[in-house]
Symmetry: C2
Amino acid sequence: MASDEGQESTSNATSGGGEAKHKEEETSWSLSYKKYGNFEQWYLEVVVSSELIEYFDIGGCYILRPLTVSIWEIMKDFFDAEIKKMKVKQCYFPFLLSEAALEWKENPNKGFAAKVAWVTRSGETDLENHIALRPTSETVMYPSFPKWIRSHRDLPLKLNQWCNVVRWEFNNPTPLIRYLFTLNLSAHLSYVLHSWINLFYFHLCDNIYQVREILELYRRIYEEYLAIPVVKGKASKLEKFPGGLYTTTVEAFIPNTGRGIQGATSHCLGQNFAKMFEINFENEMREKAMVWQNSWKQHFRTIGVMVMVHGDDKGLVLPPKVASIQVIVVPVPYEDADMQVIFDVCSATVETLSNAGVRAEKDIEEDSPSWKYSQWEMKGVPLRIEIGPKDMANNQVRVVRRDNSSETLIPMSSIVENVKLILDNIQQSLFDVAKQKRDACIKVSKTWEEFTTALNDKKMILSPWCDEEEVEIDVKALTEGESGAAKTLCTPFEEDQPEMPEGTLCFASGKPAKKWTYWGRSY
Amino acid sequence: MASDEGQESTSNATSGGGEAKHKEEETSWSLSYKKYGNFEQWYLEVVVSSELIEYFDIGGCYILRPLTVSIWEIMKDFFDAEIKKMKVKQCYFPFLLSEAALEWKENPNKGFAAKVAWVTRSGETDLENHIALRPTSETVMYPSFPKWIRSHRDLPLKLNQWCNVVRWEFNNPTPLIRYLFTLNLSAHLSYVLHSWINLFYFHLCDNIYQVREILELYRRIYEEYLAIPVVKGKASKLEKFPGGLYTTTVEAFIPNTGRGIQGATSHCLGQNFAKMFEINFENEMREKAMVWQNSWKQHFRTIGVMVMVHGDDKGLVLPPKVASIQVIVVPVPYEDADMQVIFDVCSATVETLSNAGVRAEKDIEEDSPSWKYSQWEMKGVPLRIEIGPKDMANNQVRVVRRDNSSETLIPMSSIVENVKLILDNIQQSLFDVAKQKRDACIKVSKTWEEFTTALNDKKMILSPWCDEEEVEIDVKALTEGESGAAKTLCTPFEEDQPEMPEGTLCFASGKPAKKWTYWGRSY
């Protein structure tokens, strides 16, 4: 989305901004760009200023600061607990691969060949056999499976691995969305920090249920944790994972840029990899059979999408469920007030809330309250509690919501119930607002003219489609422009398909339509 | 410890063994080597047969199977919870480094220069700027610190990172102990999966307390979780982390090979890195000051040490605190017995134990009980519960301990209390036995003759030492042999130092002794 130059200058500006932070404290926690002014620059500024990421020595590589990792860990803990119930086990495979391993016949990694990073020397010594950094997890994991699977009793084999994969790509970098290697090649590093490889067998057809079960976990991460509405559906043949049978996806949408974004994917690999890696077993009838496989992936971009959807001109806005600090308690000094007494009440408030399971912290640094407010707003803390001498006299505190800036006075005696209620409310409200904005961008387009108008209006387009690959290729070619081409985002599952009246025609080809499909530009 | 050829053949043997497993079920879960026969081969066999690791396409790289990861995660969860109390935050830095970043003046990584792995091409295209895989975390992290630390109020900065580091080394590989790259270079990959970088400042001297606090966590991981006795102490100047001021360590000992092994390290870096990376700040008096830093590291070898210390001729022996399955419940069939009824009792037993917080599972596969017993013994499950028709009639179950094979009948009615008691007892007993064996290997040696005799007897030697680097270099040179040279393991801290009578002389130099220090061969 942003040009390299844009990113460079932001990086420098931010670095300069850090210095200013301590010099002109009152003004430093503010953004120079507006979300509805220059969205791309606003995004680049907010991810650095809120301390989610930091630029790194190597262009396109980013440092994930504690705020990012804390959000990721909350999502990971949820996911790990859910897959543990499904008897999935954690493993860790090397991140290096031999040349031979990348040369499997019919290897879908051939598509990645140009993007593979090679280690060719150690110190000053050239290695005779070059080593690749894994471009996918499948190629690293599957060669071992024939050793472990011999009989039907060794199945299902359910493994999960949290790891990086590395692919050099020509693409624009966006922190947390697309990790780029800027060097001379402008190559791309994509870190898939989660990649679950699950192997199972099934006799008659693929286990649709299991693919969908994981997709549902991803939907919950987006909707219940990150308060981001997504559409569940199937990717087109053109957009699916090349090695697999089919891909299901949760698709988010960024109203500001009018682009869809693939949130996470759950693939049915069918027997494609089993054939390639010869993963056979003896079934109950003592016959030779071949396994079916699934795999699924979530990416750090999840957090980038959250920034884009909820962030505002004051900085980050965190949904309470993923906020490592849900409530920040700030003392408000007043002339002649005994600050120690106020500090003590702040500490007691934090303790009361913490004991009730609310993630609360206090900020009793020497900075001015307004500086503190800006800081915690920039970092997206959902709720601020202000405590001053007057509040104490009235046995109350002032609470200020990050999402809509509304202020309320609540009695000290019922602080826990009230705070919990407000946090729940913020979580729901963020989702509702985001859904309203997303829904306002959905445009049903039944003709080519409606389609192109909607595309120019940055819409997420729902159109009747004949489901033919050539037609999608044509649409791409016809809509190619400066901001990229339109493509299918996903086709909602059967149960979510709107009614298709008899005789409905494909918006693009004029042939009989088979499915309602979401189209648009995308990240 | 093992030659490449030895390792290769074990790998092949095991792979063949896997096939046999399903053909000759009764005999497959057994080891061909004995712990007190051929320790090295026994170790290589047990780590594969117990399904801790699997060999990989690239020699010296190992797949960490779910059993290994489950043990690691229990230790990691303990450590993470403890450092969270200390306000340490998690972060994630890129695992790639530019050439420039590795060329810092006075960079202690210069020592690693020959061991650094370089990415030089992507696909078929040579990169103009080569990229290194991080050989340490310090060089990756510290260049960012000056951006984040400006005032004393930005300190302490406490960051933890769980990550890999990569070093190509000429060394013998041992799974989980030393990861080797066999290629043509026989290079070495060392994965430090935990590396905590903690930064703090201090005015008068280094914060010894904090370095020791982390070391104490490592001691607890070894002694309380893995039931392995360790000695805490300071590394000699020769053995310390080259970039740091001093290194503290927990040292374990393997009686079978007579070798010490560095269990985990906690370094005080002093201001060495601060000087190099110019990490300065403005102190309370508005003067420019320089930070002090600590860093500490734990390694997957922790698990290898556990295998070596507790394992036996039946396979792995897991201390209950790190066992993902603490109790395996096995139904014992009997002619005419209604197996479904026995299965139901097994399920109920697992449920009762699970509800009480015991990690229990049942094995109701079709295999024979003896095959099951061997399997779970190989995998180190601490306690087996057998349930047959006779037991059910008597309202009792038979429990068999993995560590000492002792069998007891316990009444169904008090199964939870009894199992918990036995598990505690196993945990303690494993530690006591290991300590007894380790202590039996400690030999106080005051003269050179005593020292060399003890070294030949594979002892862990406690000797009075003058604490001079040249003397340690001499001792190394004089004891160099096929199985390596003697070196210092560690010098116990002040409070653990045995009394040093006036006039005690150094065992090696004859100069006045300053400290009691542990010496020996090591991994």
